[in-house]
Amino acid sequence: MAENFYLDNPDLRFRMEGAALSAIVDLKEKGYSTAAKYANAPRNYADAQDNWRLILGILGDICANVIAPRAAEADEEGAVFHNGEVDYAAATQAAIEAFKKSEILGAMLPWEYGGLNLPETVYQAMVEMVSRAEGGLMTIFGLQEIASTISEFGDDEMKARVLPRFARGEVFGAMVLTEPDAGSDLGAVQTKASLDEATGKWKLNGVKRFITNGNAHIHLVLARSEEGSKDARGLSMFLVERDKSVKIRRIENKLGIHSSPTCELQYTDTPALLVGKRRFGLMRCAMALMNGARLAVAAQALGISEAAYREALRYAGERLQFGKPVSTLPAVSRMLISMKGEIEAARALIFETSCQVDALKAYEAKQEELAAAGAPLDPAVVARKKRASNLADMLTPMSKYYATEMGNRVCYKGMQIHGGVGYMREFNAERHYRDVRITNIYEGTSQLQVVAALGKMVGRGLDVLIDEWEALDYGSALAPVRAELSELTALFRKCCDELKDKDRELIDYFGTDLVEMGCVVVNSWLLLRDAITLERKRELVRAYTAEHLPRARGLASAILAGEMLSGPSREAILA
């Protein structure tokens, strides 16, 4: 059978088939009334699921047969800068062409703009497959988030003008936030947006740095619209259609994702349109944009890990030392098992998260629809939206944190399993190792993800989920794992309570430990839940918990001891 990155991945298929989206798709398709109007709209949930299979199958084919075979070439050639423009590598161009021809772009956009109205969950599965094929390409494919943000915050005229072009693959987007002095601290953005009161038109001036795909036609630019303001409340989001006033000054020379151009941009009196409300650029628009993009980067790390794991598994089975395949050596097989466990854990976490994001969006839209019709607020809708919102807020940075850190661990082990050849350019392990490294840096570093998840986590925000999972019947075979997990969960709650009322400094000091622990708790429950219905997951959850629960207990000890190095001690050590 021809290779296919969807069909050859039972875990990804299991997740897709099991995604609990029936109520959400019903809302998105307005009780399936959209089917009468749009030829591609599903008639019912089974029809929607069938469409997802088709879409993922087509993309899986393109990924395996068009993109992956030229991934090393795309990395080697890379994007190049010349004459003020960016040229993609030939392999990258071929991949973009395949996306266009297969009409797979704009899949998340609403029907009226030529999209396929797909849930975020399906989109993240797509991102994972593209990243498995070529890590850098994901930044081009994944920037469809830009279109989603315009769809969410733009006015009708803007949407009608821009979105169909995204859906046809005629334009791509760039997300333009970072500046030399505003990285993690985006509130410090200085690019200036000035309003000509007479014409009502905005112009942008300033320099942006590290902009992925800054050569794209549509830019969403975060800029300071309120003169004299110093913080996030003075920032607004703008849409720019790139013209001569936008200069690409250079592209970066970097460790990995070579096919993805990272541009330095200069805006000089660039005409711009306000997106969403003034002053809400960072707090609403950029946050929404980043939340989507964070999940996509999590899926990117997952995809690269999947590729790295498969390479390592194959190599370890073929490489003979001491008269047998190295995969049979305990040290190597443990690495492989650890990789597989973490990959499936990350996939479970990402899917759980994207389902919450889908729920949030669907209930939000429902609430707006009710409000627009002048109908009273439906308390059930409000409650569901609130719940999904709380969970999405916490699970998104957890997913980004966990998947990208685990991606680095997996690609590290992937290279390790290859031994010396893994260090060589000829082997994909080397590329995966370099490509995955960006994932825990951009879209907010891991440290920033911890900050984002921490507040709600110490406030016991995960309880609503964990309570549900604890109440399930896991049967006798899983009882020991379940008991150990319940114990760890109690310990995790104790840590949350312990930190809750402490100084921010202390909370931040132990933040990474707590979030790490939270991820292990959530992942373990998710895998355990899978094991109820899926035989294959039983051994996996045992292996995963055997590896990670003891470590999480170690983290708990540190948190509960609460011994934070004092300022002077820290200084003394670093002196």
């Binding site: 030829a39 469409n51 393109i62 395949a98 899949a107 396929l116």
Partner: protein, 297 residues
């Protein structure tokens, strides 16, 4: 100006991926054991027709003669962009050689109405005769351009085509309507479009309604399904011999003068082997010899 194109396609056993189990003891192919695929060069023909439509406008209709299961490649054509599809299926078509096949296809092309261009693949991988295209053109009484690699120009009633021949290329000009047989180097067939894949996934002939209902019970009855497919223009028409107004004697086995007399199972074995010194001179001598024997060159 828009052009009406018809593409003749065939479902074939995937002879490029033959595994041990597929050959019978007599050396023939057990078709049932091979996956049925879209004849590769017919995909090139479809791609060329779609490109003509993209550049000049018009329509692309695909036509195949085959068993009910051949509807699969008609759907695949719809996924790639064809506007319409017709299946010729009738027991009386069975056993047709290239002559009987081209007779039926020519009648069907006529039945579709006025047309400007007929595209077909150079040859099918199960027979490798390359005869059906030329014979169909003869029966339609139109000129043919075989081995078409590239449409260089298309204006009014004239087409200019580059032909790929063994020792080079040839550029020919021809009046419309005409028939082209397309080679694999002509283009890279596009992948299925996701949007068209979804929109056309229910496209079916009435012979497939039962299977479709089993998968989508919500339609309730064949009548309801038929009404839905008809309304959405997803019903693939099936034309029988009677509907083509065909003469029985020219169809299928009866209309096929070609009979397979005997199939020889050829096993290539090396009779003798020779060592060639791995030197520049040794290689040169080998190449010279191969050229002298007309094995290469």
């Amino acid at each position: 100006m828009p052009y009406k194109s018809v593409v003749l396609i065939k479902q074939v056993p995937d002879t490029h991926n033959i595994t041990g189990k597929v050959m019978t003891d007599e050396g023939t192919i057990d078709r049932a054991a091979l996956p049925a695929i879209f004849n590769p060069e017919d995909l090139n023909a479809l791609e060329m027709a779609l490109e003509v439509r993209e550049r000049h406008g018009g329509t692309v209709t695909v036509l195949t003669m085959g068993p009910p299961s051949a509807a699969e490649i008609l759907r695949e054509s719809l996924y790639r962009g064809a506007d319409g599809a017709v299946l010729l299926s009738d027991r009386r078509f069975a056993g047709a050689d290239t002559l009987a096949t081209s007779y039926a296809l020519a009648l069907a092309v006529r039945k579709l109405g006025a047309f400007d261009l007929v595209f077909c693949g150079r040859q099918a991988i199960d027979g490798d005769t390359a005869q059906v295209g030329p014979q169909t053109a003869e029966k339609l009484g139109i000129p043919q351009i075989t081995y078409a690699e590239c449409v260089l120009a298309l204006e009014g009633g004239t087409i200019v085509v580059k032909r790929a021949l063994d020792h080079g290329t040839e550029t020919v000009e021809c009046s419309l309507p005409c028939l082209l047989t397309v080679v694999s180097s002509a283009n890279e067939p596009r992948p299925a479009s996701v949007r068209r894949r979804i929109a056309n996934k229910l496209a079916a002939t009435s012979m497939e309604y039962k299977a479709l209902l089993a998968k989508w019970p919500e339609f309730g009855s064949e009548e309801a399904l038929d009404a839905f497919l008809t309304e959405r223009k997803l019903k693939i028409p099936v034309w029988t011999a009677a509907e083509l107004g065909a003469e029985e004697a020219k169809l299928g086995l009866a209309g096929s003068p070609t009979q397979v007399y005997k199939v020889n199972f050829v096993v290539l074995e090396s009779a003798e082997s020779r060592d060639v010194p791995p030197t520049r001179e040794g290689m040169a001598a080998l190449v010279d010899e191969l050229m002298r024997e007309y094995i290469v060159g």
